[in-house]
C-alpha cells in the first residue's frame, strides 16, 4: 500500500513458539534487568518525572530502535546515521518542548509516536534511495 520498497526478504521473524535455549537465556536476563531498572527508577524519582521523562526515553527508544531495525540495508551508510540523529534531535526537541509546557501528561499520550514511523521511513526513502 505505501512505501513498500524498503523491506528485505531475509528478515528474521520473532516466533515465541520457536525459541531456543540461547534465545531464552538472552531474553530472560534482559527482561529482568529492564524490570529491575524500571522499578529502581520508579522508586527513586517522582511520579511526574517517571511518567514524563521515563516515558519519553522508553517510547523514543522503541520507535527509533524499530526504525533502525527496519533500515538494516542502510546501516553502513553514514548519511543514514546523520538522518537518524537529525530525526532524533527534532523528535526530542519537540517532545521536550511539549513536556515542559503542559501541566498534565499521561503515559498513553505517547502512543501517537506510532505516527512517526511512516514519516521517518518516508523521509529516509526520499533521502536515501534504494538501489
Amino acid at each position: 500500500m505505501v512505501m513498500s520498497t524498503s523491506k528485505t526478504n531475509h528478515r528474521r521473524r520473532f516466533d515465541p513458539n520457536a525459541l531456543t535455549v540461547r534465545d531464552v537465556l538472552t531474553i530472560v536476563p534482559l527482561v529482568l534487568a529492564f524490570v529491575a531498572v524500571s522499578i529502581f527508577f520508579a522508586f527513586s524519582v517522582s511520579d511526574e518525572v517517571y511518567i514524563r521523562w521515563g516515558g519519553l526515553a522508553l517510547d523514543s527508544a522503541i520507535v527509533f530502535g524499530l526504525f533502525i531495525k527496519y533500515s538494516r540495508q542502510f546501516l553502513r551508510e553514514r548519511r543514514f546515521w546523520g538522518l537518524t540523529l537529525a530525526l532524533l534531535a527534532v523528535h526530542l526537541v519537540a517532545f521536550i518542548l511539549i513536556l515542559t509546557h503542559v501541566e498534565e501528561w499521561k503515559l498513553v499520550w505517547f502512543t501517537p509516536m506510532a505516527a512517526e514511523l511512516p514519516l521517518f521511513l518516508f523521509i529516509r526513502n526520499r533521502i536515501l534511495p534504494i538501489d
Binding site: 505505501v2 517517571y50 524499530l66 527496519y70 502512543t111 506510532a114 514511523l117 514519516l119 518516508f122 526520499r126
Partner: protein, 133 residues
C-alpha cells in the same frame, strides 16, 4: 471533498509558498498524511488499542491489580484509623504500614502501566511495518 487538514495544508502551501517545485512539498505532506491515515489509523492504532484493552488479560491487568491493591491498602489504613478513633493516624504503625504499602503498590502499578504502554506502542509500530509500510 477535501478534509479540513487537506484544506489547511493547501492554504499553508499557497499562503507561505511551501511548494516552490511544482507542489513537491505539498505532495510530500499529502502523501505522508495519506500514509498516516491508512497505516496508523487502519493498522497501528487498532494494534495499540488491542494491547491496551483493559478487558483482555495482559500487562495492563497487573497494573490494574497493583492499583486496586494500593487503593485497598490506603482504604484499609483509613478505616482502621476511623474505627480506632485515632486523632493522629500516622502515629499508628498499622496506618503507616497501610500507607507505605499503598505507595509501593502505586509505584508498581506505574511500572506495569509503563511496560504496557511501551509494549502497546511497540506492537503498533510492528503492526504498521508488517501490515502497511
Amino acid at each position: 471533498m477535501m478534509s479540513t487538514i487537506e484544506c489547511t495544508i493547501q492554504f499553508a502551501v499557497s499562503r507561505f509558498g511551501l511548494a516552490p517545485n511544482n507542489g513537491q512539498s505539498y505532495s510530500f505532506v499529502k502523501q505522508w498524511w495519506k500514509d498516516v491515515k491508512n497505516c496508523v489509523g487502519g493498522v497501528g492504532l487498532p494494534a495499540i488499542e488491542n494491547a491496551l484493552n483493559p478487558f483482555s488479560l495482559g500487562i495492563g491487568t497487573a497494573a490494574d491489580a497493583a492499583s486496586s491493591m494500593s487503593q485497598a491498602s490506603l482504604a484499609g489504613a483509613a478505616s482502621w484509623s476511623v474505627s480506632q478513633g485515632l486523632t493522629v493516624p500516622l502515629r499508628s504503625s498499622i496506618v503507616r504500614a497501610g500507607v507505605g504499602s499503598a505507595e509501593t503498590f502505586g509505584k508498581l502499578s506505574g511500572v506495569a502501566t509503563m511496560a504496557n504502554v511501551v509494549y502497546g506502542l511497540g506492537a503498533g509500530v510492528v503492526a504498521e511495518w508488517n501490515g502497511c509500510l
